[in-house]
């Protein structure tokens, strides 16, 4: 009993006699533990060698991971067990010294800073001012190459898309959409002709074209002619965070954003019905030309996509 207690009392490591109980292994039967660790190491060694073999013969990825992971895990287990059971059991104690200096030393430092620094500043005000000014101006000037050259200024970019009066609506393969193509309850993503494969066409101009029956449709004021023959076009860029609003539920007449589940009512000007989006999806005014092609009357009358400071 008392021996156990003694060995549980922390002692300082340095200067311990070699037969001190603190320096004995923690395990009751070190020989046994040694054998177990030896087996673990041997298995780990085999697996790590197997990793090399698997790599050499280009075995499937999982064999590489299994051999490497299994091998390293076994080696790790053995090494930890070695440290835990076969090395000095301790516990040992170490003094913790305060890092704080004496009050005199602190005062000496403060005095040095105040006296020497003060003398420099007092006597060389002009020099100090000029140097500070120079470095400050350099700091400001350095912002230009570091920041300003990274990209163009926003200017009006966010306020316009590439839809113009008379632009043909084409699908992802570049085919112009004709009035007979869509049945009621159909949806297609359209782009301004020629931009269907461009980054800007994909990111900014993307528009969903849906065809609905004219029943239960609420026409927004000023948009009486925007949806000919049940064809309605809304910006596909969500007004919340800009994800493509590609989820159309034709019976509920909802466009849903797959990212954060904002729901827009197709039959009522795409006004948000639920979810975090605050603004309706902008509507693209359409007309059907003499050959039956779907074309834009004009650009969107408001910026598409998520909100930003200058949006107004």
């Amino acid at each position: 009993m008392s021996d156990v207690h003694e060995s549980r009392t922390p002692v300082t490591l340095s200067g311990l006699p070699e037969d001190d109980p603190h320096l004995q292994p923690a395990a009751n039967d070190p020989r046994q533990v040694e054998r177990v660790i030896a087996v673990t190491f041997a298995l780990g060694l085999l697996l790590v060698a197997g990793f090399g073999a698997c790599y050499w013969i280009a075995a499937p990825p999982w064999t590489l991971g299994a051999t490497m992971g299994g091998g390293l895990t076994l080696l790790g287990v053995g090494l930890v067990a070695w440290g835990k059971y076969l090395m000095p059991a301790g516990p040992f104690v170490e003094e913790r010294h305060s890092h704080a200096s004496s009050p005199e030393a602190r005062d000496a430092l403060a005095a040095a800073i105040v006296q020497r620094g003060g003398s420099v500043v007092k006597r060389r005000k002009l020099l100090g001012g000029l140097l500070t000014g120079g470095l400050g101006i350099f700091g400001i000037v350095a912002i230009f190459p570091l920041l300003r050259s990274l990209g163009p200024l926003p200017k009006g970019t966010l306020f316009h898309t590439d839809w113009r009066k008379g632009t043909y609506a084409v699908d992802s393969t570049g085919r112009r959409v004709q009035v007979g193509d869509l049945a009621v309850g159909s949806i297609v993503t359209v782009y301004p002709e020629g931009l269907e494969n461009s980054d800007r066409g994909q990111a900014v101009d993307q528009t969903v074209l849906v065809r609905i029956s004219n029943e239960n449709f609420t026409t927004q004021k000023g948009r009486e002619t925007w949806g000919p023959m049940g064809y309605l076009a809304y910006s596909k860029v969500c007004t919340h965070l800009g994800c493509p609003v590609g989820l159309y539920e034709q019976e509920l007449q909802l466009l849903v954003c797959p990212c954060h589940q904002s729901m827009f009512n197709v039959t009522n000007g795409a006004i948000p019905q639920f979810g975090p989006a605050p603004r309706p999806l902008p509507q693209l005014p359409l007309y059907v030309d003499a050959s039956g092609y779907i074309r834009a009357q004009a650009d969107y009358n408001q910026p598409v996509g998520p909100g930003f400071w200058e949006r107004g």
Binding site: Y55, F92, L147, L241, H260, P272, G307
Partner: protein, 514 residues
């Protein structure tokens, strides 16, 4: 005085000293650098033994795994948004127009030997890295290890967590697949939502309007050089402060504010910690072998008009995504300007506030408790019920937000309405902290004053009365069982209930159980 030049083998051996080649090397080193004294005290440095002190090591060693696997990946990954036609060994994408970034990621997964394993280990170790950082941080918080003199290391740790989250997002974006592209789009919109400067920041960062031309190369250099460089420096500083200030320890036998009790650096701790490095690498490799992560070939390349449902960010970004999902559609339009509160509050202000409070916590706690002492002994969480309850409240809210990032998956899994799930999450996020706080507080108070911190180690004696009633009373403890020869554990003054003194039985008495 004469200098004798050794000329026989034995004399040379004797001149080398009793430690042979090692001695020679150390002599040479010490002549130049003076390593002997410092080295000796380093060997003797004591590390306290407690399993929770190893949690930070999981993070440290995951970081090592991330760096090694990451170097492998940079050898094959091409950070370019140039379009190429994919002709590789993964047939379903054959002939598709993809960016070089995407094509090279698919190629390094399929055509480079061990490439897929390295990619999966890189991603898994990132998940583990940030997870273990959070767990480590929780340990430090709940045990009060951030108190004076360790406030600076708390701040460094928080900065590391922030940078790790940022770098995780950057790395997740690099393959330019459908899911990560959606993530970049959302990040761009969040930058755009910052009042006054948002559009400028967005245009500068992306080299123009989304998707821009330079986001992949810029994310790449941030991901592989700038952020990891800063992190490496901060990890060094974190370790140095740990070394200089010495580790905290739990109160216990022989442990005081002025000492450290545990195992020495060499050989015990070194063996254990090296073994642990191997274990962390091994477990990560096993995960990389058997659990597939981020199969970008199934997602396909990103195009701004394509989208998949059920897309979530990696888990450490999920709380932000959850907040964005459940936040109401509030937007401010006035004076010709717009502040998109529906984005700014959940994605900019909320995380800013969260991390701000975390940075300020050590200072705030000092202000409220007026405790300016040095603390090297840790708290039992139950002895600091208010802090513990506050931490539990924040964790409860963050967990709810984490769940809220997969509302659709939950709705689909339990087959309930999406709207119901969204509304439940809105309510839960507001309610959960206010439920977690009092419950945790009450539990802490109950646990106080129990010896062994609520483990209830003292045996109970159950007796049966003549009438057949069973009565339980705590058993007397043998005198021998009390570590009377050790210094008694100091009771911190903030503990409100004093520890219950066990009834001490006479020597030789025996517990009678009937």
């Amino acid at each position: 005085m004469s200098i004798t030049v050794p000329n026989t083998k034995r004399a040379k051996q004797a001149a080398k000293g009793p430690y042979g080649h090692l001695g020679t090397v150390l002599n040479e080193l010490d002549d130049r650098l003076g390593v002997a004294e410092g080295g000796r005290s380093f060997m003797d440095k004591i590390f306290p033994d407690h399993w929770s002190f190893m949690l930070g090591e999981i993070a440290l060693y995951s970081f090592v795994v991330i760096m090694v696997t990451g170097v492998f990946l940079t050898l094959y990954y091409i950070p370019s948004q140039a379009l190429v036609t994919y002709h590789g060994s993964y047939l379903p994408l054959d002939g598709m127009r993809v960016t070089e970034a995407f094509a090279s990621t698919v190629n390094l997964s399929f055509a480079v030997r061990a490439g897929l394993l390295m990619r999966q280990m890189h991603h898994w170790s990132c998940d583990i890295f940030i997870g273990s950082m959070v767990v480590h941080m929780a340990r430090v918080f709940f045990t009060g290890a951030f108190r004076k003199p360790r406030e600076l290391n708390w701040s460094i740790g928080l900065t590391l967590l922030t940078l790790a989250i940022v770098n995780g997002f950057l790395g997740y974006s690099l393959p330019d697949d459908l899911v990560s592209g959606t993530g970049i789009r959302i990040a761009y919109s969040i930058v755009l939502s910052i009042p006054l400067v948002g559009t400028y920041l967005g245009f500068f960062a992306f080299g123009g309007n989304f998707p821009g031309t330079s986001v992949i190369p810029r994310f790449f250099i941030m991901h592989v050089l700038i952020v990891p460089g800063i992190m490496l420096g901060l990890v060094g500083a974190h370790m140095f402060l740990l070394y200089r200030q010495k580790h905290t320890q739990f109160p216990g036998e022989g442990r005081t504010e002025k000492n450290v009790v545990g195992s020495p650096m060499f050989p015990v701790f070194m063996a254990k910690t090296t073994g642990f490095l191997l274990l962390v690498t091994g477990v990560t490799a096993l995960l990389g072998a058997f659990a597939q992560i981020n199969p970008i070939w199934q997602f396909g390349p990103y195009e701004a008009s394509r989208i998949s449902y059920a897309v979530q960010p990696d888990w450490y970004m999920a709380f932000l995504d959850g907040m964005l999902r459940i936040f109401p559609a509030w937007s401010f339009h006035s004076f010709g300007y717009t502040i998109p509160f529906e984005v700014t509050i959940p994605a900019v202000i909320f995380p800013g506030l969260l991390f701000g409070v975390a940075y300020a916590w050590p200072t705030l706690e000092r202000l409220f408790t007026k405790d300016n002492e040095m603390h090297n002994l840790l708290d039992r969480p139950s002895n600091r019920p208010k802090r513990t309850a506050a931490g539990a409240a924040v964790l409860a809210m963050l967990s709810t937000l984490f769940l809220a990032s997969s509302t659709d998956v939950i709705a689909n899994f339990f087959h309930i309405s999406l709207t119901t799930v969204l509304w439940s999450m809105r309510v839960l996020v507001l309610v959960s902290p206010f439920v977690a706080y009092p419950i945790t507080y009450k539990i802490c108070k109950e646990m106080q004053g129990i010896k062994g911190g609520g483990k209830r180690k003292t045996p109970n004696v159950v007796t049966r009365t003549e009438e057949g009633e069973y009565l339980a009373s705590s058993a007397p403890v043998y005198v021998d069982d009390l570590p009377s020869e050790l210094e008694p554990t100091e009771v911190p003054r903030y503990i409100t209930s004093p520890p219950k003194e066990p009834d001490v039985a006479e020597p030789g008495a025996r517990i009678v159980e009937r």
